[in-house]
């Protein structure tokens, strides 16, 4: 059931908690222990604002196991306003409304349910700003 993995990732999943380099200010998501820009190990926790825009997107019709309930849905690359590019599902949007550059914001939603007796996993998705 991967309970330990989901538990370990809860803050980055619920809150877009990443890291920032104390040396050069580079912001990272997912979090890292070494800065890929300046090799510094002085890394601090950083919570992203959740604001960003769609960098690229596709519509998923054949979903992996556990995501059937949302088909058809939009999988996107989102450029966060602080810099990182992350992949995420879009929500609260019609598939034909999505375009490159669409301003989006992070929401915490149900990602998947592990069968009827398993864990319910929550995490970030993005929706159009309103």
């Amino acid at each position: 059931m991967d309970i330990a993995r989901h538990w370990r990732l809860r803050d980055q999943r619920y809150n877009l908690q990443g890291t920032v380099c104390a040396g050069c200010g580079h912001k990272m998501f997912p979090p890292r222990v070494v800065c890929p820009e300046c090799r510094s190990r002085k890394i601090e926790t950083f919570e992203f604002s959740g604001q960003g825009e769609v960098y690229s997107h596709t519509v998923v019709y054949q979903a992996p196991e556990g995501f059937d309930a949302y088909v058809p849905y939009v999988a996107a690359l989102v450029r966060l306003e602080e810099g990182p590019l992350i992949s995420a599902q879009l929500t609260d949007v019609n598939v034909d409304e999505v375009a490159i550059g669409l301003p989006v914001e992070m929401v915490t939603r149900k990602l998947t349910e592990q069968e009827e007796n398993g864990l319910i996993v929550y995490g970030y998705k993005f929706r159009p700003r309103f």
């Binding site: 619920y14 949302y70 915490t108 939603r109 149900k110 319910i120 929550y122 998705k125 309103f130």
Partner: protein, 352 residues
């Protein structure tokens, strides 16, 4: 019998949440009754949660809105309490997921409250007590539901999704100060759901006079009389809203005008949000209120009981109101869906 905390307590932040989707009551009527009851529908439409929404995700968004208005660090909260009759887990608190997501962990109390539609206002009473006793400076109470009605049942027209979160804190920081509260409960089995059942049972007409009206009117009347107030002393009022008619009639019996209940009467547009119903109505009032306004809120939960609160709005409301989305912002964000989509999302189709 009226309850007052030993120090002044008030609402320092509030936030609402309503999902994006709507199902028209007329569509339900057409499907199950051939449109026979088209002229007597209890609401115009109801909110429907998206396939990735539940009481956890919705509570998180309402709580984040409340924190934006409260302007406090979430680690200052000493309680995160969620009242709901639709917790995603039978055993595993909703409140710890919400507390983690809003950054309130680990030095906080968390718990899930149950009292049908009154679970949300119970969290408010408890949060007021916690702050009022000086055990804590800030406590959060949430009422949130994704309600289900049996397909074709009268409740299906109204069973909706949404709710609100409130941060209670010291009176001097409040945007609305509590004057007093009162709770009134009896054993009245008007509506219930046994363990492992998908849908609740209700007592049809029994849900009206001995349940809703008796408790709402008793709680509201007692609180107003004990404070020496009449309906004219209040600018706004909100009553639990299972449909449009019940709160209108309760308001009228207590002497309130249609104008006084308008900003909080949201059920026609979003349906009955159960444990969130009177709480989101209160957010509608706060979005519209002016400094000095007095607001009456009376909840109702089957089983049965009511909590009544009297708040007085302060100057701070107008400064903090715009720090988060208003309740009407969420109501205006509206995407109609057909019954088939609703049936799929609400797991009413047998897939295996």
């Amino acid at each position: 019998m009226t309850m007052k905390p030993s120090r002044q307590v008030g609402i320092v932040g509030y936030g609402a949440y309503v999902p994006r989707y709507r199902l028209a009551a007329e569509e339900i009527s057409q499907l199950w009754r051939g449109g026979q009851d088209r002229d007597t529908l209890p609401v115009r439409e109801k909110s429907v949660p998206g396939p990735d929404e539940d009481s956890v995700s919705m509570s998180i968004e309402a709580a984040r809105n409340a924190l934006q208005r409260a302007q406090i660090d979430p680690t200052q909260l000493r309680a995160v309490w969620v009242g709901s009759e639709s917790p995603p887990y039978a055993v595993k608190p909703t409140s710890t997921i919400v507390a983690q997501a809003i950054g309130a962990v680990p030095s906080t109390s968390a718990g899930d409250w149950e009292f049908a539609c009154k679970a949300g206002s119970e969290t408010m009473q408890a949060a007021i007590a916690m702050v009022g006793s000086s055990m804590a400076d800030y406590a959060m109470g949430i009422g949130m539901d994704t309600a289900q009605g049996r397909p074709g049942d009268a409740l299906e027209y109204t069973a909706a999704a949404g709710g609100a979160a409130f941060v209670f804190g010291p009176g001097e920081e409040a945007l609305a100060v509590l004057e007093a509260s009162y709770s009134y409960v009896t054993d009245t089995p008007d509506f219930f759901r046994r363990a492992h059942q998908h849908y609740p049972e209700h007592g049809n007409r029994f849900t009206g006079e001995p349940a809703y009206f008796h408790h709402v009117l008793s709680a509201g009347r007692h609180l107003m009389e004990s404070l020496g107030l009449t309906a004219e002393d209040f600018a706004l009022a909100v009553f639990h809203q299972p449909n449009v008619k019940f709160p209108q009639r309760a308001a009228q019996k207590l002497g309130f005008t249609a104008e006084q209940i308008r900003p909080g009467l949201l059920v026609g547009d979003i349906g009955n949000t159960y444990a969130g119903s009177s709480l989101i109505g209160l957010t509608g009032c706060l979005d519209a209120a002016q400094p000095g306004d007095r607001i009456l809120m009376v909840s109702f939960g089957s089983g049965a009981g009511s909590d009544a609160f009297s708040f007085v709005v302060t100057e701070q409301l107008s400064k903090r109101r715009s720090l988060a989305r208003t309740t009407q912002d969420y109501i205006a964000r509206r995407q109609p869906v057909h019954y088939a989509t609703y049936a799929r999302w609400r797991s009413k189709l047998l897939l295996k």
